[in-house]
Symmetry: C2
Subunit: 144 residues, 2 copies
């Protein structure tokens, strides 16, 4: 369930951008924020349909874009070709450890790596914007 703070933040964003409120948008927001896992657009679609049958695919994509633009969630282009979304309301930046057997995602941040990345940008004359780092391996469970 959404907290009041989250709901308000979303509604404020809509108002601020001159966008309209809709139940569909709220349901999608809710699903994304509730999502513990890294869901594809299709998974989110099916999930939202449970609470709001009749919602269209296009609305899912449109709203996911909106949520990403707003900074409420981030998009992660995966190796299987689909995008996965994760809420960024509570979560700060992080990278991913991904199990190549079971697909499990582990969120990680290494401040030292972050610092060295900035150094790499600088050394090469780049103005840093963002990065993505994915570490693929086999998790403990899957090695047994």
């Amino acid at each position: 369930m959404l907290t009041e703070k989250e709901k308000r933040a979303f509604q404020d964003y809509l108002t601020q951008e001159g966008l309209k409120f809709s139940l569909q948008r709220m349901k999608i927001f809710e699903t994304v924020l509730a999502g513990l896992k890294h869901l594809t657009a299709n998974e989110i679609y099916k999930n939202v349909q449970k609470k709001y049958p009749g919602i269209g695919y296009a609305t899912i994509y449109r709203t996911l874009r909106l949520l990403c633009d707003a900074g409420f969630c981030t998009e992660l282009k995966c190796e299987d070709g689909a995008c996965r979304y994760e809420q960024a309301f509570v979560n700060a930046h992080h990278d991913h450890l991904i199990c190549t057997k079971c697909g499990r995602f582990v969120e990680v941040v290494d401040p030292q790596i972050e610092r060295l990345q900035i150094r790499l940008f600088k050394i090469n004359g780049f103005l840093p914007q963002r990065h993505r780092m994915e570490l693929y391996g086999v998790c403990k469970q899957c090695r047994k």
Copy 2:
């Protein structure tokens, strides 16, 4: 142009795997190895067509897969949704600095980061396999 060593390595791989030699495969191999840039399948297709008109799309994709499996090239899933390929015959592992304005790719490796990545795998109980790291920013030229 391909060196004898490269040609031989490719032919040896085919033989070893019980695959057949074909001019198409060799032309694609040649194009990929010659490619300095990070080409999409479509760019490789157009490139190969110059030397070998009549080649089909499917053959491009099939052969790129083969080359990746063989380790002669690597696939890079880009943000624009297409894959880009780069030869891995001479090139060792590296990550990418990508300019978000002009699209320029700079290949980078930071041994310290590599070491810290391994540490991250270990800390989380993962058996390391591979990783990808992309740093997005604005290059010197584009900042002017």
